[in-house]
């Protein structure tokens, strides 16, 4: 990755480090990987034990797994299939498992997207999407930039009372956004309005604006902590070599540190993006008009009005919110799950 970096010494160092990482990676993942499974199997299920001699246990395991999967997947199936059901099918008792639209895939209204069209027209979903995407992009990139800069400072730069400042930043972890919702609402609303009208003669307010929605969520204590841990784990020799070659800190951060810490950064970016996509309380409080609402707030208002009368349309609207996340998750599940698991077990 640091191919644009002209610093040969550093590059060799990086390669050596990457090789070693690869070795370590293989070694570290061995206990769970397939290569070591015979050994692991021997220990946890030795041949003479009941556990592996009888297929009964294995069958029980699969049965439980099936139940677990069913419990997790049926509600999601109910959402997607409900979105394709016509009104009569929604009201049918006993409930319809497979919507009419799916039973005849080559019929005249095979696709049955009627509910999606109706939902899209019932509320400005195009606008909701744009809003959610803007908030998610701004929030995630803000958190990443803040996290990287702050983490670099705390990991590599010297400053008096650095540890104290770090602890102060970590203290922010203890102040949840739910507690600061009301004061923040007042700060960016009436307080800011009176300050700006006194000082500048214009009234500025964050209520019902994009910046009002994402700015309070752009700072990151968790990200600073997580990314700093990743930075501290990077090979010192390589960074030192680059320093000796005369690379500045910005260069070091951009060309060496960020590429090397990429897995952690991707995981963090994904987790942060999911949180911004799903954010609800703050956007609910701070938006005033339909045009500024993100998807989560938009569907909750749609649900308040359409409610239990028109499930098909409401399920279609729910799909609008959930499906992009499911796609992202299918694409990046390993990053997300491994990131969360390792964060917990190492921390």
């Amino acid at each position: 990755m640091p191919s644009r970096n002209p610093l040969a010494a550093a590059r060799t160092g990086y390669r050596a480090w990457a090789d070693r990482q690869r070795h370590l990676g293989i070694a570290a993942s061995a206990p769970t990987g397939p290569s070591a499974s015979p050994a692991g199997d021997d220990i946890s299920h030795p041949k003479p034990s009941l556990l592996s001699r009888l297929p009964f246990d294995r069958l029980l395991g699969y049965a439980l797994m099936l139940i677990l999967t069913a419990v997790m997947i049926v509600p999601l199936y109910w959402m997607v299939s409900g979105a394709f059901k016509e009104y009569a099918e929604i009201r049918a008792i006993p409930p319809v498992w497979i919507p009419q639209a799916w039973q005849n895939p080559f019929g005249p209204d095979a696709l049955g997207f009627g509910n999606f069209v109706e939902a899209w027209n019932a509320a400005p979903f195009g606008r909701f999407y744009i809003n959610t995407i803007i908030i998610t992009l701004a929030g995630t990139s803000g958190e990443l930039i803040n996290g990287c800069l702050c983490a670099y400072a705390f990991a590599f730069l010297r400053f008096p009372f650095k540890t104290v400042i770090f602890v102060i930043i970590l203290m922010a972890l203890m102040i949840p956004g739910e507690v600061t919702t009301l004061p923040n609402y007042i700060s960016i609303g009436s307080t800011l309005r009176s300050i700006t009208s006194n000082l500048l003669g214009v009234e500025v307010s964050g209520i019902n604006t994009y910046w009002g929605i994402f700015l309070p969520a752009v700072s990151t204590a968790y990200g600073t902590f997580l990314i700093r841990q990743a930075f501290l784990g990077l090979p010192r020799e390589v960074l030192e070599a680059a320093r000796l070659e005369g690379a500045g800190h910005l260069r070091l951060l951009w060309d060496m540190v960020i590429p090397m810490a990429r897995p952690v950064l991707i995981t963090y970016a994904l987790i942060s993006a999911v949180a911004h996509w799903n954010a609800y309380l703050w956007p609910l409080v701070v938006t005033r008009t339909q045009e500024m609402r993100p998807l989560t707030v938009g569907i909750s208002y749609l649900f308040d009005t359409e409610g239990n009368t028109n499930y098909g349309v409401v399920m279609a609207a729910t799909c609008f919110v959930v499906l992009p996340l499911i796609l992202v998750f299918i694409w990046a599940q390993k990053f997300i799950i491994d990131g969360i698991a390792s964060g917990a077990t190492k921390g």
Partner: protein
């Protein structure tokens, strides 16, 4: 003022003072060799100042490590001060006032809001609901998560996709999930009514009955969050050294004994992490309750966070909302402090 901050002086001061304090002694080790380098750079720029004036002075300022440190942490620090630390103090002040968001001034009323809260049956019902909800939701999510993790720790096929499957709902919007469950809970056309019918049980009134409504929101929370506990427990289970099981087996321990003698104690810190994270998560659980029940029926599912929201933004009573938020903050702080104390003791005796 920062121009006068000669990098050489500041470096020697911080180099000796702070190096040891950093976790990972490598910090100090690496900092020193780069020291002379920065010095050389600084010297170079000083010489160049005469020639290119402004620009190199800017460069020198910029290259100084301490300036850079400040520049790097400033955005985060400013935002935290504005949107986390200051609001906390502001909230304390608000909780001592009476304000409906409209009048130009806030009336200072001392501890009246707190007196109102603690002398009010409604508030104690909210606290009781919060407690039941937390116990039910955390207990359900953690125990089912542990059981799922034990299952997925077996050498079975498809366990990786199943792990992904049960984790997926944790990432989905609580609002969307709750809307789906509202449909599932529907006492007439809902899926649960049908499924309970298979085993000959009638559908409870779910969201329409105060007690069942609390059960319903707990079910949704557990369904949505058990995957989180499962993934973390699974990582913990995979970190338990295999030879411990071997030793237990040599001693003749059966599967249950092995679980209680090896697995359970070995998961020590993991239990702890999962419990604390889940408790804090439940206390912040707003979207499920707002969407499924809006705190009802008759306040039966109003937990502390929903009560805070209700007081602040529905009843427009900023003072009472702020005081409820302070109670929420105190509860969460207590959980965190207890966690810190216990984990500290753990490391002492470990």
């Amino acid at each position: 003022m920062l121009q006068e901050n000669d990098p050489t002086v500041s470096r020697s001061a911080t180099g000796t003072g702070k190096a040891g304090g950093q976790p990972g002694g490598a910090d100090a080790a690496s900092a020193r060799p780069s020291g002379p380098l920065t010095g050389a750079e600084a010297g170079g720029t000083t010489a160049a100042t005469a020639v290119t004036g402004r620009q190199s002075r800017f460069q020198k300022l910029f290259r100084s490590e301490q300036t850079l440190f400040l520049l790097f942490i400033l955005p985060n620090l400013v935002l935290f001060t504005t949107f986390s630390f200051w609001p906390l103090f502001f909230n304390v002040y608000l909780s001592l006032t009476s304000w409906n968001f409209l009048t130009p001034t806030r009336d200072f009323i001392g501890l009246d809001n707190y007196r109102y809260l603690f002398g009010n049956n409604e508030f104690w019902t909210v606290m009781r609901t919060t407690l039941i909800y937390t116990i039910g939701a955390v207990g359900g999510a953690v125990s089912l998560g542990l059981l799922s993790a034990l299952l997925l720790n077996q050498k079975l096929k498809f366990r990786t996709p199943v792990r992904a499957m049960i984790f997926a709902p944790t990432l989905l919007s609580g609002v969307a999930i709750s809307i789906v469950w509202f449909y599932i809970f529907d006492p007439r056309v809902g899926l649960l009514r049908e499924m309970l019918g298979w085993i000959g049980v009638g559908s409870p009134p779910w969201l329409r009955d105060p007690q069942w409504a609390l059960v319903s929101v707990i079910i949704v929370y557990v369904w949505k969050n058990l995957g989180f506990a499962a993934v973390i427990y699974l990582a913990g289970l995979q970190g338990i050294p295999k030879d411990l099981y071997e030793a237990a087996k040599v001693d003749g321990a059966n599967a249950f004994q092995r679980f209680f003698a090896v697995t359970w104690p070995q998961l020590g810190s993991i239990h702890f992490f999962v419990m604390v994270t889940s408790i804090l998560g439940t206390l912040q659980s707003f979207d499920i309750i707002r969407t499924l029940t809006a705190g009802g029926p008759v306040n039966a599912t109003t937990n502390l966070i929903y009560y805070t929201y209700q007081q602040s933004f529905i009843n427009n009573n900023a003072g009472r909302g702020a005081s409820a938020a302070m109670v929420l903050f105190a509860v969460m702080l207590a959980v965190t402090v207890i966690q810190y104390r216990i984990s500290e003791r753990r490391t002492h005796y470990a």
